[in-house]
Amino acid sequence: MSFKDTIKAQRHNIRDYGMYVAFVMIVVFFTITTKGLFISSRNIGNLVNATSYIAVLAVGMTLVIVIRHIDLSVGYLAGALGAVAAIALKYWLLPLYATIPMVLALGIVAGLVTAFLVAQMGIPAFVATLAGWLFYQGLLQLVTRSTGTIVIENETFNALGNGFIPDFRGLEILPGVHKVTLLLGLVAIVLFIANEINNRRKTLAYDFEVLPMNMFILKLVFVSLVIGGITWVMAGYQGLSWAAVILIVVVLAYSYITTRTVVGRHIYAVGGNPEAAELNGISVRKITFLVFGSMGLLTALAGILYASWLRSATTIAGRGMELDAIAAAFVGGAAVAGGVGKVTGSILGALVMASLTNGMNLLGWDISIQYMVRALVLAAAVVFDVATRRMAK
């Protein structure tokens, strides 16, 4: 197969590759213009922590968008749940191991309430969650009214959004580099390569077409370099943050569930054609409850990460987060019409948007310009999306 044929065969993946290329271009651009400040270990560490809660929301939002809905309530819900966590720790004196499960459970309940309104009462998600947006905004103000900003003093809690994983003690090699992070990066690369080779072997055994060998090796090298590079940069500061660990776990779990399991397939089927799904024995109602329930769970997690990152719960926590999460999902390739959107795409979308903000901040660009640049990127991503999809037909 010639290179041209390869490109042709892969054209339905152009959307994905385009995202990676755009991301790399943004990184390179800001690295050059900030004279390396952008790619510095410290900045990347902060960037990841500041993106984690949006990225977690974006994962949940992707599935909501895939099943043709939207959730506008998650920003203030995250804020309100963060405040509940702060109050539980500070005033109710609940231990951390009770507070976190409680907040996560409340998140699920809130998600199921939304699902009830949407799936059972037939209220359009836009309206139902707009009501939620108002309601949780009120709730947040109510619970923080007497206290104002609640400062959280539980250091374990605060470590979730600010802390880093521990390193080996007393190792003399590579001073100033976080060894555990390096090791984890190495493990990730090995697992990735093993998995790819295994998949390729299986696919060949069943006589299905695979990437030509040179492209395959190129892909392995590229991804390994990216993982290696990120690992090296992060290891240069304080290593992997807990927020990054949580985000990675969420992403791995959700991409596994959405791409490999039966329920993941059913979620996409409902998004693609709800009537067909129903005729094939898939309950659209159950899937709707599941997806909004998971959105609630992830919202609670995002609320915890955010409160922890700020070491406090504020009266306006969560404002606008829902829109950032929605933007991340659309930049990452989700389609308004439903049925389309990947967890990994949305994470990349969140990273792209956060990198833009971060880079422009470092360059000292005016906030008004920043908004407009992000608007252009969002629009460009969707235009690219529509164009590649039309081309693929």
Partner: protein, 261 residues
């Protein structure tokens, strides 16, 4: 079970949508290893009747017996469990999934059994999908293609492959030849014969009377939500066509008295 019990017996099925009386008390019998042709003008109620049988609609009145046993079907899953499959007129495909995903929709093969969290066995499903499709001889380049990229005939083939994937005893095909070329139509009709040879009982809806004539053992004509004709397929094609059209347009009606009573 004996050959004299019908596989499917529908009795006095009634179904209305708002003010529309789609079915006004239809009796229908499908015998073992029989191909039954179901015809009628547009809006006669053919699809509605078959959707009642596939569990997609719940009838207002009437009963359904499968191999002599009265059954209640609340959803398509119930019908599937009883061995009834249907190729829907609008095909019921998810455009965002690939061919394999659609063939196995709702019945994914798993390598690790964990209920909804079961891990899908993609290779097994792909192989099986390929086998089912090659039987249809409608070329689809890859079972990994998204269904939105397929032609009308290819989409039809995917829907048929799904209905024939699980060796069901009753297969309903609602206009399976509607989007097909002449060559592809004869493939589908051959498949109907083959399914029959394998022991399935089949109901086929079509507006192409020559197709019905070619494969059916018996014919039922619906008109305005009622059965007006129920006879074995006999005679030559021209005579058959003339007779069927007479029933379809209301010039003849074998059950006129029953309707009044």
């Amino acid at each position: 079970m004996t050959e004299t019990t019908a596989v499917v017996e529908m009795r006095n099925i009634k179904k209305h949508f708002a003010a529309v009386e789609a079915l006004r008390g239809v009796d229908l019998e499908l015998r073992h290893n029989e191909v039954l042709g179901l015809v009628g003008d547009n809006a006669a109620g053919k699809s509605t009747l078959m959707k009642v049988l596939s569990g997609a609609y719940i009838p207002d009145e009437g009963e359904i017996l499968i191999e002599g046993e009265k059954v209640h079907m609340a959803n398509p899953l119930d019908a599937r469990r009883l061995g009834i499959e249907m190729v829907y007129q609008d095909l019921a495909l998810a455009n965002n999934l690939d061919v394999t995903g659609n063939v196995f929709l709702g019945r994914e093969a798993v390598s690790i059994e964990l209920g909804p969290l079961g891990v899908m066995d993609n290779h097994r499903m792909e192989q099986e999908a390929q086998r089912l499709l090659s039987r249809l001889k409608i070329a689809i380049p890859s079972v990994r293609l998204l269904v939105e990229r397929l032609s009308g005939g290819q989409r039809q083939a995917v829907a048929i492959a799904r209905a024939t994937a699980f060796d069901s005893k009753v297969i309903i095909m609602d206009e399976p030849t509607a989007a097909l070329s002449v060559a592809a139509i004869s493939q589908v009709l051959d498949l109907v014969r083959e399914l029959k040879a394998q022991g399935a009982s089949i109901i086929i809806i079509s507006h192409r009377l020559e197709d019905i004539y070619g494969v059916s053992d018996r014919l039922v004509v619906l008109r305005q939500g009622r059965k007006v004709h129920d006879c074995p397929v006999v005679g030559d094609l021209d005579e058959f066509r003339e007779r069927v059209v007479a029933y379809m347009i209301g010039a003849r009606d074998d059950f006129a008295n029953a309707a009044v009573g």
